[in-house]
């Protein structure tokens, strides 16, 4: 095959292609069900197939870009996009994306390798894995904490806590900008910090939605539906910008992006269908458990990169076991999550197939017709 295979791209056999399609399918189901990303599964999944971290992120961010374009149109039609908020976030998010692209490219080309003769990309892989593990652990644990609170019965059903949003609103750091669609006011400084962080995370691990959506809800006080729609709108631009930036460095593997689409655009329909028939607490619980298993999977792979960079001294032959363990947890989380969601989809589908006759109860009127007419 072409010499570039050994540099940036992997050889895609039928088996690898089917695994990428499966990754896309599961990622699509999770993405449709959770409403954010799916990249947390697809990016490490591709890395487990031997794709370099940067190429996996670049191919996935390109995949996300096309998907966001289709999804954002639907959200915009439903009035769930705050374009003004998206514009403010975008300006700072692009800085974040650029920062991420720069760090990833630097690490990929040998920066951070420590001069230990580490294989190309090991530094970037370690960096991506660490960011992935830390950020997603925080997201999953805070979601689980919210679920526990709801179950204990406090202010259950009141939605996510607004403590941070209220605190920042009290600070009232000028200039404060009013967003009519979201019905909220946010300090420009807070917007800049959150926007940059969202862009950096999107550019680093391809899952900007995991910080963008919660940040909009918890920090800005934006309604959930608007946060999701606005994030997708934002992802369209960030994905486009990310795709172009990575493509300039030659990191986008179009074949992977196309294979991901084959699975994800089927899975996403099934995931969205699942959301309609499952209650929100269940959705949040399934989501957080899937994310936690993905984090475990990535943590198991970290010793491989540490060894390659010479930070720890373990036998290279153990890599296959770490890789196997990592792959097992990743696929276990994705497949279990997808199966649980698919089970719900099948249940709902069977419900629909049953002809549900309206239950008609004719009662004796509490007042007779003459009275009824007279009352008018």
């Amino acid at each position: 095959m072409h010499e570039l295979l050994s540099i940036n791209y992997i050889d895609i056999t039928l088996s690898v292609a089917l695994q990428v399609i499966l990754l896309g399918f599961i990622g699509g189901i999770l993405s449709g069900f959770i409403g954010s990303g799916g990249a947390f599964f697809m990016t490490p999944g591709m890395m487990n197939l031997g794709v370099g971290g940067v190429v996996a992120v670049a191919s996935n961010i390109s995949h996300k870009f096309g998907k966001a374009m289709v999804g954002a149109r639907k959200h915009a039609a439903a009035g769930n996009v705050d374009k003004k908020l998206a514009a403010f976030m975008l300006a700072t998010a692009l800085v974040g994306v650029q920062l991420a692209v720069w760090i990833n490219s630097f690490l990929f080309k040998g920066g951070g390798g420590g001069g230990h003769g580490a294989p190309k990309g090991a530094g970037a892989n370690l960096y991506i894995s660490l960011v992935f593990a830390v950020i997603l652990s925080m997201v999953a644990l805070s979601m689980l904490r919210d679920i526990m609170k709801s179950k204990k019965g406090g202010v259950d059903g009141a939605g996510p806590s607004m403590k941070i949003a209220e605190f920042l609103a009290k600070l009232n750091l000028p200039p404060v900008i009013k967003f009519n669609v979201s019905d909220t006011k946010v300090s420009l400084w807070v917007l800049m910090v959150v926007g940059t962080a969202t862009g950096w995370l999107a550019g680093t691990i391809g899952v900007g939605g995991f910080i963008g959506v919660p940040a909009m809800i918890y920090v800005f006080g934006v309604p959930t539906a608007v946060a999701t729609g606005t994030e997708l709108f934002l992802a369209l631009f960030m994905g486009g910008y990310g795709a172009i930036s990575y493509a300039l460095h030659g990191f986008v593997d179009l074949r992977l992006t196309m294979l991901l689409y084959l699975g994800s655009l089927v899975g996403i329909h099934l995931g969205v269908y699942g959301v309609k028939v499952v209650n929100e607490l269940y959705i949040r619980m399934v989501t957080s458990l899937i994310i936690l298993l993905c984090v475990v999977s990535r943590i198991i792979a970290i010793p491989i990169y540490l060894r390659q960079l010479g930070f720890i001294d373990i036998n290279a032959s153990y890599d296959q076991y770490f890789n196997l363990g990592s792959k097992f947890f990743l696929f276990a989380s994705g497949i279990t999550g997808a199966l649980v969601i698919l089970m719900k989809v099948v249940q709902a589908y069977r419900h629909r197939r049953k002809i549900q006759k309206t239950l008609l109860v004719v009662k004796e009127p509490a007042m007779n017709r003459t009275e009824a007419v007279e009352a008018i």
């Binding site: 095959m1 072409h2 540099i7 791209y9 390109s62 870009f65 096309g66 998907k67 374009m69 289709v70 039609a77 439903a78 769930n80 259950d156 059903g157 009141a158 939605g159 996510p160 806590s161 209220e166 019905d183 909220t184 809800i217 959930t224 486009g240 795709a243 172009i244 493509a247 030659g250 986008v252 179009l254 992006t257 196309m258 689409y261 655009l265 089927v266 329909h269 099934l270 309609k276 028939v277 499952v278 709902a348 589908y349 629909r352 549900q356 309206t358 239950l359 008609l360 109860v361 004719v362 009662k363 009127p365 509490a366 007042m367 017709r369 003459t370 009824a372 007419v373 009352a375 008018i376």
Partner: protein
Amino acid sequence: MAIVMISSLFQSGRKELAEALAKKTNWPVLSREELVDRAREQGIKIGRLEVAMIKTPNKSEKLAREKELYLAFLTSILCEKAREGSFIYYGRGGHLLLPGVSHRLRVGLSTPQEVRVDRTAQALGLSPDKAVSYLNEIDEDFDKWIRFIHRVDSRDPKNFDALFNLENIGLNNAAEILSNMAQMPEFMPTAVSQRMVDNHYLSAQSRLRLSLDERTSAADLQIHADNGVVTVTYPPHQEQFRGHIPAVLADLKGCREIQCTMAETNILWIQERFDPTSENYKQIIQLSQRWGAAVELMRLIPPGEGEDATLANTDSDRAFSRRTCGRPYDGGVEDEEPETIYNDGGLYRTKEDLLGLGRFGGLHTVCGGYSSILERVQGNGQYAMVVIGDMFLSKGQSARTRQTRELALNIRDRLKAPVITADEMKSQLLFGKKQAVTMLVFFAVIVCIYYTVFSHQPVLFNFLSGSLHQNYVWLSPLVLFCFIPLIAYLWGTVTGLALKIINID
């Protein structure tokens, strides 16, 4: 018999105006605070709802149930009062309660800010500066509350019948004007508006019973009442509540029939005339069966149809007014006078047909222009889709198309739900010959693209990252930028249409 509903910002004189009007008319006065106290006595957690709605803009299933309960409680008491005779109500967003009842007189007040500041400082013992910031906060909370509860802008003048600027008119004179206005024919109860009060009352009573009874309190129900018929829609995963619903509503006064429909969601279908043999009906049924949705019918009776001449006194009245219209559908109750048999615009037959299919989700009749439709839909639940069928039939084709599009945009803004016209429904949501051709063509294109890409990998590598890329560094990013969304669009359309065939969308 008059219903005067006064709404204003905090410390704007609504209480004083209500009292001045009561002094002139001897009508009883009700305040929101009074009703909220009574609601608390009944165990309705208003405080929790207020805190959550103002501070947490995310509505969960449980919070939505609490909101419905709060509105049902207020509606129930106001309807009871309306059936007894005239009354005055004042309170936050009072002008938005009892939507569609045309004999309400909805009053808004504008009060100079310095007056409000003085009054606030005096009432709460605050310094003027603190009073200003207190008022700013409370006005913001007021706006949020109205938007979350009623989904409208609290200051939208379209939702008022009279607005007084208290800088220019005294309270007593305003009260005098209101007492005269309330005697005008426009604000006199009609058969239609009285029926609307009865419907609101029955619907609210049903909601209260179902929400407060432990057997059904955890259910997410959509409830509608029309002429003694209560329609309750419940989601499939709450099928266990179905048996309890008729039991809980068993001896509800004024209820002569209960219809329970299981549905995953609701489709609102707005049209002037309904016909169960029409193409629109067949398409709606196809959609509702695919989505497992109940169909809620809303009939618009345009102004002028069966107009009550007493309400529009002059030609200029007719030119501006959208309040007048004929009697609504009477739900099949035989009229005592055969000559007044009412043309229900096909509602009854359509309803019976939907009942037979198990897809009936309630019905409404709305009189007037499309502001009346907007007022009616605002309080209703979440819809998966709003379909605007054949409307504005008296207009020419172009005017009809334009007005239908405007209505769609307005409803979309108000409900934050997808709104489509009947024409768009077929092309966008249903699977026909056109969609089959599109699917096959797109699929063929996708196969060609994938074959080309995977059979020319060395060229691709060269283009993405090799010497070609080095020579023309911007070429591959630009091509990818255009090519990737194209793939997503083509394959997304194919998968979407394929899943539509097996009714998953």
